[in-house]
Structure formats: structure tokens, C-alpha cells
Amino acid sequence: VTEAVVGRLADFPEGTHRVVRVGRREIGVFNIRGRFYGLPNLCPHQTGPLCEGRRATGTLVADAEGGWRPRWTMEGEVIACPWHGLEYHVPTGRCLAYPEIRLRRYDVSVRGEDVVVSLGGRAP
């Protein structure tokens, strides 16, 4: 498994993300409430720079249990592609509009003050 140090912990304050380059890959590294996640900076829809949007936000969902009324949820966990707005849930890589689309996820860990991305990846 190839690993790469992509920055210092201080480079990734909570609630922010950055696109880092590891070899030929661009990876969005997200710090969501102290947990780190990595997604490819490539939207499978039309190859947009998925993780270059300014910030991860929440989103609206509605279901029968909630009487079909929309509620704001997943605060800080949703990234929308800047090109066309296709939304993804960062912790799971799941596309909200088309659940059959799942992004590969990169393991991101913190070792001391280093943020480390593993290119081994994880099954979607």
C-alpha cells in the first residue's frame, strides 16, 4: 500500500477541505468534525473537479417519516460538484441523486502532525 504525507494537521482545520496531489491523482481531503476522509477530485458525471467547491455543506432530504417535509441534514458532509451541482455524501462516497454511483474512498489518517493518504483505497 502506497502512502503519502499530504500536509500538516494545521493545514486542515475542522470543516474545511483541500485538494492534494499524490502522483497523478488529485484527492480531496476533508476534515469533518475531526475525522478525515478522501475522495477523488473527479466527478464521474462529466469529469468536473468535484472537490474544488468552496465548502462541504448540508443538504435537504424528505421522507415519509417526516411527513415529506424537507429538513436540512448531513451538515458539513455533502460536497456538490462545482460544475453541475451533483451532490455526494463525503463519509460514504454515495451520490445523493444517483445512489448507484459510489466514489472510491481513500483512507486518510493523522500521524502525529502529519496527514497521510493511503492510495490503497477502500472498496466503495
Binding site: 462529466q46 467547491g53 462541504a56 455543506t57 460536497i79 460544475w83 451541482g85
Partner: protein, 382 residues
């Protein structure tokens, strides 16, 4: 046996698919950003004063009072998102660089705010804006780079002035089309009052390109207040407008009275075209006497209309796009458009995933547009 042969030959053709960088890509719909302050020096008095008055108004996407009132999406509740919903291009240098990044070789420029020109009720003001935009477009954009070509706007509120503008730019090497704005238009483009515009375009050998945008107004088919989401309004407004205007232009005989006029439509996708051909042909069986000037069935005329692909449908079976084009005999009339830099632009990568034959791929991405705009591969008018 026949089936096996088909299976044998098709993949070989597909393997020869050219990379996007090797393909001539002509983009039939790209948008420059014209702010009121930019147009003011090009605008006749007293309307230049009005433009300077709103020059410093904080601008939202296609939303400036007295210039492009009532923005796309300003009716609905706003929530935070990383989607860049208001991309703009301010200089030719920026445009050339951004189009190069999506492999576009030649582009036809349309406005941003003036997409809503027909909603302005003051005809003299609207006509002055159109003249200012046309002069600004040539001076600041199309004369600055060979890959940037222009569509001058025809002001529907003043057809005589629009005809004069077309004649004025008829010989400009960088102007390749006349843009017919559709948002909030009344009456529709088939109305007799617009004949001077079609006359002038035909004489100038410039095609007309219809382009709508989403607005909510009492004018058919933009009376879309029955919808409560932008999802619904934006899904329908562009396409309904193109449908309404083409039905209008066929049913009043524009398509027969101006036989050499080349007509194109933008930003409506392509999947409505088989419907419209079949629907009008069916109606023609019963009501031919209302349109006695047609010498052919309606689909004959519709199939001569050039259809820009954006927003290209994205069915699970992308081969359906190829089939849709077959259904309106569109191999020679379908043209790529990106709509860069707008929120719903199409990167050519999606259309390039359709299993076209190599010949059809080259036609759709570039060669058909060369015919429509009357230009060579370097963008020079023929």
C-alpha cells in the same frame, strides 16, 4: 448472420474514435458577460445614462433591475452549496483559455443578461441595448481572437432596427449568426411583424439562432407560475419556448417564405425533436388548409432546423442519443454546444461517449456547424 456482421464491424469503427483534442469542435452556444457599465460607452443617449445608473448595482446571476430583471432561480429559497451557479466570462483571454480546456476550437458568442432582452417593455431602450451589445461584441470580443465568433442580437421590440443591424454587420468577418432571443417573447418568432428580420438575415446569408432562458412572465410559454421549483421551471422553459417558436415559424410559413434562411435552435436538448416532427405531421393530415402554403409535410421543414445538443440528454443507454438523432434524420443538422460558462454547461466528454460512427461524430462536433455558420475550419466566413 447479419447480426453477427454488425457486431463484428461496429466495434472496429468505434476503436478509431478520435480523442477530443484531435477533433474539430465548434461550439454553437457560449456566453460572454456584458455588464451595464461595459455597454454604456457603446450605447446611444439617453439610454447610456440608464446603464451608468445601474453599473454599480450588486449583480446576481442574470438579475439587474432595469437591465435583466428577475433572475433565474431568484424565486426559490436559497441553501448553501459548492455548485458554482453563477460562472461568468469577462475577457476574451479568459474565454479562449477556458474553451481550450474543454477542447473547443471555434465558439459562437451569445450574451448573458441580454438573454432576457424581450422582457424589457421599452422598445427604444431595448433596441439601443441591442445596438450597444452588437458594437461591444465585435469591438471587445470577436475582433480580438480568431476562434471567437459572434451572433448579433436582433431586438424583437423593434424589427426594423434589428434588420438595419443585420445589414450593418452582414459583411463583418467575425459575425456568423443572428441571435433571436426567446425569453418572455411576445409575439412568437413566426409573427409577420418579424419578417424584416428574416428578410435581412436571408439577404446577409446569416443563420438565425433561437435561444431562450428561464423566466416567469405572463407570456406564453413562460407563464410557468404553476410550478413551485426551479427544477420544474428550468426543465421546461427553454424547450417549451423552442417548441412554441418552431411551431409558430412553421404555422405562419416563415419556413417557406424564406427558403434560404438557415435556422438553428439552442439550449433545448434534442429529444423533443422526434415528438415535434411526428406531432405536426399528424395534425397536418387534418388541418392542412390552415397552413396551405406548406408544400411539404411539416417535418420536412423541421428537419432542416439545426439543433444544438446542450443540455444533452444523458440516458442510461447513451446509444439512445444516436437513435434520437436518427428519428429526426439529424446526422447533418445536429451541432455540439457547451453553453459555457453556465451552471448547466456540457463538457464534450459526455457527447463523445455516445457510440456514433466516426463520420457522425465529426459532423456533430464540428462539420455541421461549419455549414450552418458558413465558415471554414479556421472560422473564416465563406
Amino acid at each position: 448472420m447479419m447480426g453477427e456482421m454488425a457486431i463484428d464491424t461496429e466495434p472496429q469503427e468505434r476503436e478509431r474514435r478520435e480523442p477530443l483534442s484531435d477533433l474539430l469542435i465548434v461550439d454553437a452556444d457560449v456566453h460572454v458577460h456584458e455588464s451595464p457599465g461595459e455597454l454604456a460607452p457603446y450605447c446611444d443617449p439617453p439610454w447610456d445614462v440608464a446603464l451608468r445608473t445601474v453599473a454599480d448595482v450588486p449583480e446576481r446571476y442574470l438579475d439587474i433591475p432595469g437591465f435583466s430583471p428577475g433572475g433565474d432561480g431568484t424565486l426559490t429559497a436559497r441553501f448553501p452549496t459548492a455548485h458554482e451557479g453563477a460562472r461568468m466570462v469577462h475577457t476574451p483571454e479568459q474565454m479562449v483559455a477556458e474553451l481550450r480546456a474543454i477542447h473547443v476550437d471555434l465558439a459562437v458568442l451569445f450574451p448573458d443578461h441580454l438573454l432576457k432582452l424581450p422582457v424589457l417593455p421599452q422598445a427604444d431602450y431595448a433596441a439601443a441595448l441591442a445596438r450597444a451589445y452588437n458594437a461591444w461584441l465585435v469591438d471587445r470580443w470577436t475582433s480580438r481572437h480568431q476562434s471567437l465568433l459572434g451572433a448579433i442580437v436582433a431586438c424583437p421590440q423593434d424589427p426594423a432596427d434589428a434588420a438595419r443591424e443585420i445589414a450593418r454587420y452582414a459583411g463583418d468577418p467575425s459575425i456568423v449568426a443572428v441571435y433571436l432571443p426567446c425569453a418572455g417573447l411576445d409575439p412568437l418568432w413566426g409573427h409577420r411583424s418579424y419578417d424584416p428580420i428574416f428578410d435581412a438575415a436571408q439577404a446577409a446569408r446569416l443563420p438565425v439562432l433561437l435561444h431562450a432562458v428561464t423566466v416567469t412572465s405572463p407570456v406564453f410559454p413562460f407563464n410557468n407560475h404553476g410550478f413551485d421549483t426551479e427544477f420544474a421551471r428550468h426543465s421546461t422553459s427553454h424547450t417549451f419556448s423552442i417548441l412554441a417558436n418552431l411551431v409558430s415559424m412553421v404555422s405562419t410559413g416563415v419556413v417557406v417564405r424564406f427558403p434560404d434562411l438557415r435556422i438553428g435552435v439552442t439550449e433545448a436538448g434534442i429529444s423533443w425533436m422526434p415528438f415535434l416532427c411526428n406531432r405536426l405531421d399528424k395534425e397536418y393530415l387534418e388541418r392542412r388548409r390552415e397552413v396551405p402554403f406548406l408544400t411539404e409535410r411539416p417535418s420536412h421543414y423541421l428537419k432542416r432546423v439545426y439543433v444544438a445538443t446542450q443540455p444533452i440528454e444523458e440516458p442510461e443507454r447513451l446509444a439512445d442519443i444516436d437513435t434520437l438523432i436518427d428519428l429526426y434524420d439529424g446526422e447533418d443538422t445536429t451541432i455540439y454546444a457547451s453553453d459555457w460558462p453556465h451552471h448547466d454547461f456540457d463538457h464534450p466528454v459526455k457527447l463523445n461517449q455516445v457510440p456514433f460512427t466516426p463520420a457522425r461524430r465529426r459532423k456533430v462536433f464540428g462539420e455541421n456547424a461549419l455549414t450552418l455558420f458558413g465558415i471554414d475550419r479556421e472560422g473564416r466566413r465563406r
